[in-house]
Symmetry: C2
Subunit: 244 residues, 2 copies
């Protein structure tokens, strides 16, 4: 357990000071492994922890009362999961492993002292959450106002850019370890229609597929179809209090 995962995540935007890194290093406790399909945190289960993904993909989802499922977001390696559940005693969504996965577990109560003693980390975390909030807002616009093809394209582009931001090598094409049912639950479509849209994107030369592997052939054009806006390029955290 060499470095702090949370420090790595927060450090993506601004360099952390020595005492901050030290404080973060004391946070992480255990590592937990899950098989594909394993539930890290069930909906309505008590929430005592937040997670940092080390390996694999996970997703958050809610089950509507009519039985439908909505995937609220994906959690790729290096990203947080479960932090959105902080203000609730019982989880408002489930967290499930889309692939075999490994996560670091951080205790909620441990966060408490961290926020008190390292206010700058609190501010940075606040910024991080706002960024993720805007990401959901963009997905809201995607579901509310774009076609099925755009939505699928948006998912692909989003994943591609986040994997890249997380340091993964995506040049050789990415493995999309989601079933079409899952893609549907994320984009508000049926699995059948996801399949048709993937076929269309393939026929148009935007993506290539071979045994589950999806390769983005023309990122710019795909981003165009997706109505994608790269928010990450313009992030500005100069308002975060400076390191002491």
């Amino acid at each position: 357990m060499d470095h702090s995962s949370l420090a790595q995540r927060l450090g993506r935007y601004l360099p952390l000071a020595e005492p901050e890194r030290d404080a973060l290093a004391t946070l992480e406790e255990s590592e937990r492994s899950l098989p594909r399909g394993g539930v890290l945190c069930a909906e309505h289960a008590p929430t005592r922890e937040i997670y940092v993904v080390r390996k694999g993909w996970l997703y958050s989802s809610t089950l509507l009362s009519d039985g439908n499922r909505q995937i609220l977001g994906l959690h790729l390696p290096g990203e947080l999961a479960g932090d959105a559940a902080l203000p609730w005693e019982k989880a408002p969504f489930a967290i499930t492993a889309a692939t075999d996965a490994v996560v670091r577990v951080i205790d909620k109560t441990a966060l408490r002292s961290l926020l008190t003693h390292q206010p700058r980390i609190g501010a940075l975390l606040l910024a991080l959450v706002q960024i993720e909030r805007m990401a959901i807002a963009d997905r809201l616009a995607s579901l509310g106002r774009t076609s099925a093809k755009s939505r699928v394209a948006a998912l692909l582009i989003d994943v591609l850019r986040r994997l890249r931001a997380g340091g993964s090598d995506v040049a050789g094409g990415l493995v999309l370890p989601l079933t079409q049912e899952e893609i549907g639950d994320a984009t508000g479509l049926t699995a059948v229609h996801v399949n048709r849209m993937m076929r269309q994107l393939t026929d148009e030369g935007l993506i290539g597929r071979s045994n589950g592997r999806v390769r983005v052939m023309d990122e710019a054009r795909l981003a165009g179809v997706a109505n994608h806006i790269d928010r990450y390029a313009a992030i500005d955290l100069s308002w975060v209090p400076p390191a002491i």
Copy 2:
């Protein structure tokens, strides 16, 4: 300018300590009035401020490259607006007045020192943002996985409960100061179809309408149609660092 609006907003969940209230009281600067339709902050405009709504309704929206608009969220009296734009130099969304409105303006840089010196306010703000993030997630599920009628019902129920939480009297029916076009942009529908859904809700006795005024006749049944889950009831902020 008697009390701090932000203090009122944050104090909804936990009592604030004296020094915290004092710190918040120094924050607020000016009050700004807007006519209906007035733009508080244009998309891509520099973001130097966040806002607290005093009177009237506002909404945040993005314009997609295909010309479609998505309303990302409403801002009712007592609520924050523009805080989601904190991590960007240029606003990722516009803020527009849905009615004549009055807002308090808080400077971004003023927040900086507040977060440094009052870490507990940072934590509380973090919680508040997570709550708003979950609210968008619920809307995502609404757009992605429910029918047009449900979405309109969800909007109505959401507004009703937030108005109530903000201290408004909604017993006599609420005035919904949104055009059907705006409701459509919020719910991912066309204005025409919003109209049909409102008619249906009216015919089923769930709501009553008279000259723009909407009255919720059967809140429980409407909440059922909306697949609504009341997140506010279960909020638990015991993990926030205690006041000194």
